[in-house]
């Protein structure tokens, strides 16, 4: 019931995309990047997504396309790229051999740290700061995955076809926010943006959001008790939530 190409887009723009936020929010990630020269890594997936991760001054930025990258990592198929994320495929660069040290000494530790945060131990989650970091990154992964599913997943594209143009604001109270922008049924996620929302869905706390992401509470019950609030064009949220339902299928 999942599609390898859609998963590749999710892995690229939602999972690897979370490095942007990790580098901004996590001291360990900042330390890993500390003192490194500007480098960009292009991921070139045949019949799949193409994007570049650029690292400069401790910041990380993911952009579409990989024409102007320092290191180019080609993948013969979406499945191969998904293997990179699973840890079952080791890519061989076709460009940027002189910067391979960054791949090994910086990029791999960064992705290891991302895995540590995204797949935490129970013990680690007892630390409130780590808990917030995990929840925040999961929020960004989920909101970015929504757009990728809506644009590529054979079922979710049907949902996206029913979303009117406009911004949907998703947020965690006193936490991260993101806009899912629909334009001609193509979805784009804008992190840390309020946009001009036509509909709004807010999770009442970091704890609640984390519980929802981990399927510990029922979202409809939360709407009932007021811990999730929504307003505006509910038909947009309704269709987006059908996509959200499928995010777990891909990210499980």
């Amino acid at each position: 019931m999942t599609d390898a190409k859609t998963l590749a887009y999710i892995n690229m723009f939602a999972v690897l995309g979370a490095l942007e936020n990790l580098c901004k929010l996590d001291e360990q990630a900042k330390n890993i990047l500390s003192g490194t020269k500007p480098v960009s890594i292009g991921f070139d997936v045949k019949d799949g997504p193409k994007a570049t991760l650029s690292f400069e001054d401790g910041n990380c930025l993911l952009t579409e396309g990989c024409a102007d990258c320092d290191i180019r990592l080609p993948f013969a198929s979406p499945e191969k790229f998904n293997g990179l994320i699973d840890g079952t495929v080791t890519p061989v660069p076709t460009k940027g051999f002189s910067k391979i040290g960054f791949l090994l000494k910086t990029f791999v530790p960064l992705t290891d740290r991302l895995s540590e945060v995204m797949r935490p131990s129970e013990e680690a989650m007892k630390d409130p700061a780590f808990f917030d970091l995990n929840t925040t990154l999961t929020f960004y992964v989920v909101t970015c995955a929504i757009s990728q599913l809506g644009n590529h997943d054979p079922i979710s594209t049907f949902s996206a076809q029913n979303i009117e143009d406009g911004d949907i604001l998703m947020s965690i109270k006193n936490g991260p926010k993101a806009v899912i922008r629909a334009k001609d049924h193509v979805l784009t996620t804008l992190k840390d943006c309020e946009g001009t929302p036509r509909s709004v869905m807010e999770f009442g706390s970091m704890q609640l959001a984390n519980d929802l992401f981990n399927d510990k509470v029922n979202s409809l019950a939360c709407i009932g008790n007021g811990s999730i609030t929504m307003k505006g064009m509910i038909s947009m949220l309704d269709n987006m939530n059908r996509i959200l339902d499928r995010v777990a299928l891909y990210l499980a």
Partner: protein, 420 residues
């Protein structure tokens, strides 16, 4: 006049209990999620009792109810004539091994009442009747595909869902074709592209879908749809579950000047007693007779007795005319209240099933605020769904409703100085 806002402590406490033993507390259209209680604090969760056009929540707050249990309350809650008939039947027998004779009486009355009906097949919910109608169409035509109009809702069986619904397999909706409302060329095109494969067209009598202004179809539209069905041997199923008996006691197909092959009734059949009925034409009688569809309570006698009393009283009162008059009065009052407070209230659909939308913004924020302010002052509206008129509604209730609506408009205006 100013109306104080209600509070809902007991509702909240009961909802908290409910969530422990019932998934999502109150699931489905009566619950806060699907019922769009925005914000949830303004809404009651549970009722204590009901009478006529009112219900009282568990906190003792009284509501003039324009959702009518989403349709079944057609004469008024606890209508004495319907309840007396039901109680009399209850003393004689209800769920029995051999069905009560009242079932035949009820079927005869429905065949006499519904213009297109030659037979009646009883069940419990609207969903049962749309399901049986689709099966009958497939059994009769030996075809798979069914045409739906965009934004359709005909129940909750997997084949009636859409492929992105949770728990629904794409294979279950493979034979569904969706066309826009009021677009005969689009309909002709899909019929031509699927020639000899379409078992049925299923549709409500007009587009009374949720989240958008409702659109009434013309008699000319339905005449063309009927002709396409006749030419291609496609069965025309009218889902009159929501609108049935509120436009026309002979069926909404009769109101729009055509005959359905099958027509589905539920909500307004028995004034809240649980039953549904699929009515159909002679040529389908053999096909439905050969199908294996039944249910434990489908032939219970009490709802049949209630249905007979309900239909006879609706005829006596000429409820479609009454609903049109009451609905029109209410709509006019609401529009004036809106205008006087600087709001643009768009009313669509039939007066008996009016749909409301505050159109000052195009995102429904103001609309949802106004609806919530109405509910929390004692007028039960919904922000996403058409409303229902019942026969117990009085001119005094309409006057009170308009006053509360006006107070609610003032409250919204006070929250939004930018509107001034």
């Amino acid at each position: 006049m100013s109306y104080p806002e209600y509070t809902h402590e007991k509702s909240r406490a009961l909802f908290a209990r409910a969530t422990k033993v019932i998934p999502s507390g109150v699931y489905g259209h009566l619950g806060p999620a699907e019922g769009l209680f925005i914000p949830v604090s303004k809404w009651p969760m549970f009722s204590e009792r009901a009478q006529g056009t009112y219900f009282w929540d568990v906190d003792g707050n009284k509501y003039i109810d324009y959702m009518c249990a989403y349709g079944p309350n057609v004469l008024g809650y606890n209508d004495p004539d319907v309840d007396a008939a039901a109680l009399a039947q209850l003393k004689k027998g209800n769920c029995t091994t051999s069905p009560g004779s009242v079932m035949v009486d009820c079927a005869e009355l429905l065949v006499d009442t519904v213009a297109s009906a030659d037979w009646v097949y009883f069940a419990k919910n609207g969903n049962d009747t749309t399901q049986i109608a689709a099966m009958t169409a497939r059994a009769y035509t030996k075809r798979k595909k069914i045409i739906f109009f965009k934004g359709y809702y005909h129940g909750v069986s997997p084949w009636q869902a859409k492929k992105d619904y949770s728990g629904v397999l794409p294979e279950e909706v493979w034979n569904n074709i969706i066309v826009p409302w009021d677009d005969i060329p689009a309909l002709e095109k899909v019929v031509e592209e699927n020639k000899g494969e379409i078992a049925a067209i299923i549709a409500q009598p007009y587009d009374h879908g949720n989240f958008h202004d409702n659109a009434i179809m013309t008699r000319a539209f339905w005449a063309k749809v009927r002709k396409i069905c006749d030419d291609e041997d496609i069965q025309l199923i009218i889902d009159d579950v929501r609108a049935g008996f509120r436009l026309d006691l002979a069926g909404s197909d009769h109101y729009f000047g055509f005959k359905a092959d099958m027509i589905c009734f539920c909500k307004a059949l028995a004034n809240g007693y649980n039953m549904s009925a699929l009515c159909g034409r002679d040529h389908l009688k053999s096909a439905i007779s050969g199908m294996n569809v039944t249910g434990s309570y489908w032939m219970s006698s009490v709802p049949f007795a209630a249905c007979i009393a309900n239909i006879e009283k609706m005829k006596k009162l000429n409820t479609p005319q009454l609903f049109d008059t009451l609905g029109t009065k209410l709509i006019n009052g609401l529009k004036i209240a809106a205008k006087e407070n600087g709001f643009d209230l768009v009313v669509s659909g039939m007066p008996s099933l009016f749909y409301l939308r505050v159109a000052n913004d195009d995102d429904l924020y103001l609309h949802q605020e106004w609806i919530a302010e109405c509910v929390s002052r004692g007028v039960f509206f919904a922000s996403h769904h058409n409303h229902f008129i019942n026969a117990a509604l009085t001119d005094e209730d309409i006057k009170t409703t308009v006053e509360i609506a006006e107070d609610a408009f003032r409250a919204v205006k006070a929250h939004h100085p930018e509107l001034a």
